[in-house]
Symmetry: D2
Subunit: 147 residues, 4 copies
Amino acid sequence: MQGMATADFQRLIEDELELARWLGLRAESLEGGKATVRLPFKAESVRPGGTIAGPAMMALADCAMYAAVLGLRKEAVMALTSNLTIHFLRAPKPGDLIAEAEVLRLGRRLAVIEVSLRSEGEAKPVAHVTGTYALPSHGHGEGSAVP
Amino acid sequence: MQGMATADFQRLIEDELELARWLGLRAESLEGGKATVRLPFKAESVRPGGTIAGPAMMALADCAMYAAVLGLRKEAVMALTSNLTIHFLRAPKPGDLIAEAEVLRLGRRLAVIEVSLRSEGEAKPVAHVTGTYALPSHGHGEGSAVP
Amino acid sequence: MQGMATADFQRLIEDELELARWLGLRAESLEGGKATVRLPFKAESVRPGGTIAGPAMMALADCAMYAAVLGLRKEAVMALTSNLTIHFLRAPKPGDLIAEAEVLRLGRRLAVIEVSLRSEGEAKPVAHVTGTYALPSHGHGEGSAVP
Amino acid sequence: MQGMATADFQRLIEDELELARWLGLRAESLEGGKATVRLPFKAESVRPGGTIAGPAMMALADCAMYAAVLGLRKEAVMALTSNLTIHFLRAPKPGDLIAEAEVLRLGRRLAVIEVSLRSEGEAKPVAHVTGTYALPSHGHGEGSAVP
């Protein structure tokens, strides 16, 4: 069981995750069950009220969960989100958002991950996320691409 | 308390919700606490394995929740997602996704909404979503734009 | 794959689920991926404000999810809740609560279930629940009893 | 805005929260938006497989969220759980469970709280919980006892 390097995860974003690429997500680190991913501020992510759109924050959190899992098991590229819960806490500042994800449990079939989203330079989180990734099994899977 | 017309909600997508616009979301109906929103299939929403990206599905669901709320209270444009939980059930077909949202409870301060996502023409849901919208209060708000 | 009979599930409550037994939960039907379980009203479940305690409602919902799963696969007694999300919608009446659970997806490893809780005789739900059960695997398990 | 003392919260459990009392929940500390509550191990909380019943863990988490909120605002006794999401991570040891709750955001109308559950003496959490409490408003409420 070996983890994916940060640069390889960034390449995965560029090559395979069109929405993450459109949002400009940048993997900053993958290591030891933790991952940091950045959502650069840009006009496209804004919604009425001037705050960053909730779905952009969900996409960031989901990507950070995926990064945290792949940082532990690089062969789990086919892992899929099984569920995700997000609580929005406060309006983000008009700036980059930083997602810090941590794997709370890595099992053989499921990983549970927690993510905290912060505006860069701020101490208080703007959103809190928990979710489950279904891990690909080896030869006796649930199906091709279904958790 | 009056609801927003479908065409007005579509205009809101085009004018204000950049991410929803980028995804091509189309409001099909807003009526009586229910709303239907469509995510047209396009290559940009796909992820490894050929299925539609989870964040695109979350954006669709969030938009449908918003539509269902505005379909009851058109003045609640400043309503904000307070929390959202999604369960992914099966891989979507390579085709349009249809979100059907229903307001389970509309209070003075909170609305709870349920959404079912289906591939067009399929009976079984591909994802199930529940969430809460914080409604703007009138003159004694929680803050400007924070749930 | 065969389902458990309602009476057998009730016996499971009496013999094995001490908390459910203490609450007086009664299985009313298990059939075809759906289950109905009743929480009889009693003083012990009440909290400040006169309403039924949230944890009693969660216990009812969890039991109904379990019933719905066993109603499809009676051998899945070792299935375990992997996650549960509850939204409280309105204060229950001082009377019995009825939980109606439905399996949204039954996979080889996971079942996702939706539950609606209603006060007896009322149309509107008092709570909405979704959750995932991890199903016991056969010979290549995640571990003894952990999702 | 003043917080409730630990002993006063324990009295609230004894006097008002019948289910929490039946489970033997013990408030260990309420301070500064954090709270610690203990579920003493006893046979009644066990389920098939020898582990502590999920609903007992949910009741513990809910009580700890309530404690964390009251630890900040003692007058919020009528606060009600609006939603709760629990992820079960590993089977608890046969021993006491400790819940540590922290308020992530305290607004005028909503509080969002995170809870980690651990078996006493263990480092790794057995469950992770997030939830929202609806706070009682003062004179212009959502209703008497409805989130």
